[in-house]
């Protein structure tokens, strides 16, 4: 099965051809937003950090942001810094250069004549980037070129029975065709870690996933906090999910039935084929962003109660197995898998339909999150801002 994508000089494949404008620190966001809004075709990607973080959190921020820019969906990027912040120009340039050779430009507001001077300089740079991007053409790409992100949020009991199972069938098909799928959201594997351990392609990979899940709960317990006090959420419970174990066992259906080839740290670049695990928070935006920073060009996000979340870089397909939710929230949802709840279609049939839709999206069809310009951004951190 094929889709029409962009082959990049660094070997990656994209399903979009974005020119990204990102603030190097939140303080410079006003300039970056104005630049992106001035040049048709440019996309603004928010950066909630950039300063006043511990070295450990600064490294995480850099890893995620450079990963987003390195994603195959991005042609090139302009970073608009302030000038005095923790993450300086050379740190961004080096972090991005370690992952890709694509065009990257940097300007700093304090050295560019204030807001107007910065916007004028930035607009010129972005116009040139857009001209370069317009030369790129979509070409035939294979499923083996695809990295599919598996995400769930606002779950209800239909998520485990329908949407996650249907996504699992599509994930299996991608993996069977030589492609890649990535499961994240470590706290939502608590109670299902024994199953994931058995699914490691090797005992070592299975054990690393198991340890990531166990360490996640321990990390919070050591701080005197219980993950289970925040998860399941009030909405999960109102919809009928009682315990975190129940939620987790439903969540892992997204990852189908194939063995896990590798286990990655938060936001690391995915450099192998097959089914992957990535150790992330359960916070949807954070977890979705981590997969995109890891290279996922398309994310499928299952939901029971509905959510409009998207990213500036990768299309986020929203699907639900709850027919009422689909009818009520159609302007934020793309795919209805509820036919499997009522025995009208099998999980496998719906998985095939979902895969066809994923390929259409990969070839350029816009999803609701893109139409709605839901370009969300969050990056995990261990300490508070300092």
């Amino acid at each position: 099965m094929k889709f029409k994508g962009y082959r990049r000089s660094d070997g990656r494949v994209g399903v979009r051809n974005h020119v990204v404008v990102m603030p190097g620190v939140t303080c410079a966001a006003v300039a970056a937003k104005k630049i992106a809004a001035t040049v048709p075709g440019a996309v603004y990607m928010h950066n909630p950090n950039g300063c006043a973080q511990t070295p450990r959190d600064t490294a995480i921020t850099l890893n995620i942001l450079s990963g987003m820019i390195a994603n195959g969906n991005v042609y090139g990027a302009l970073i608009v810094g302030l000038g005095c912040e923790t993450i300086q120009e050379e740190m961004y340039v080096e972090a991005v250069a370690q992952k890709t050779d694509k065009p990257l430009h940097y300007i700093a507001l304090q050295k560019s004549g204030g807001l107007k001077g910065t916007v004028d300089s930035g607009v010129k740079i972005v116009q040139e980037l857009i001209q370069g991007a317009e030369i790129c053409r979509r070409v035939d790409c294979d499923l083996s070129d695809l990295i599919l992100g598996l995400e769930c949020g606002g779950s209800d009991p239909t998520s485990g029975f329908s949407a996650n199972s249907v996504l699992g069938a599509a994930s299996d098909a991608v993996v069977d065709s030589g492609g890649t799928a990535v499961l994240t959201e470590t706290p939502e594997a608590i109670g299902a870690e024994h199953i994931l351990r058995e699914r490691g392609a090797t005992p070592e990979v299975g054990q690393r996933i198991y340890d990531a899940v166990k360490n996640n709960e321990k990390l919070f317990l050591d701080l005197g906090m219980d993950v289970r006090s925040a998860n399941p959420s009030p909405g999960n419970k109102a919809s009928g999910i009682t315990t975190l174990e129940e939620k987790s066992l439903g969540c892992i259906h997204k990852a189908g039935a194939r063995p896990f080839t590798e286990s990655y740290s938060y936001g690391d670049m995915i450099d192998k084929k097959g089914l992957m695990f990535m150790d992330t928070t359960a916070y949807d935006v954070c977890s979705t962003v981590a997969k995109v920073a890891g290279g996922a060009q398309v994310v499928v996000f299952t939901t029971g109660m509905g959510t409009p979340v998207g990213t500036a870089v990768a299309p986020v397909i929203k699907m639900t197995g709850n027919r009422d939710t689909y009818k009520n929230l159609e302007d934020i949802l793309d795919f209805d898998s509820s036919a499997s709840i009522y025995g009208e279609k099998t999980t496998e049939e719906l998985g095939g339909e979902l895969l066809e839709y994923i390929l259409r999206v990969a070839s350029g069809e816009r999803v609701k999150a893109e139409i709605n310009e839901a370009f969300d951004m969050a990056i995990n951190q261990f300490a508070s801002y300092c």
């Binding site: 209800d156 009991p157 485990g160 029975f161 199953i195 009928g240 009682t242 174990e245 129940e246």
Partner: protein
């Protein structure tokens, strides 16, 4: 009879109702090709769980063929199973 319950895997001790269910309503589901029916003891909201096995306090409750928690108090088949009688741990 209309199927209005989901039984996911062998070993499950609960089913999930696919309609708003009231006390006295019949819940019907398929288990390994056989149709099984229970009468709801109390109201069970749409997509919530209903017991199909009696449980004593501290006993394991299963869905997807796996442990989803323990009974926080005794309950009978047909009863609504949720946060009032099911928790991750007995002390919940």
């Amino acid at each position: 009879m209309k199927i209005n319950g989901i039984y996911s895997k062998p070993g499950d001790t609960v089913v999930t109702v696919t309609d708003q269910t009231h006390a006295g309503d019949v819940v019907s589901y398929t288990s390994e090709g056989q149709q099984v029916t229970f009468v709801a003891v109390n109201d069970v909201p749409k997509f919530h769980k209903m017991a199909i096995e009696p449980k004593k306090k501290g006993e394991t409750v299963k869905k997807y063929g796996e442990r989803i928690g323990v009974a926080l108090k005794d309950f009978a088949p047909g009863e609504h199973v949720h946060t009032h009688n099911l928790g991750s741990r007995e002390e919940d």
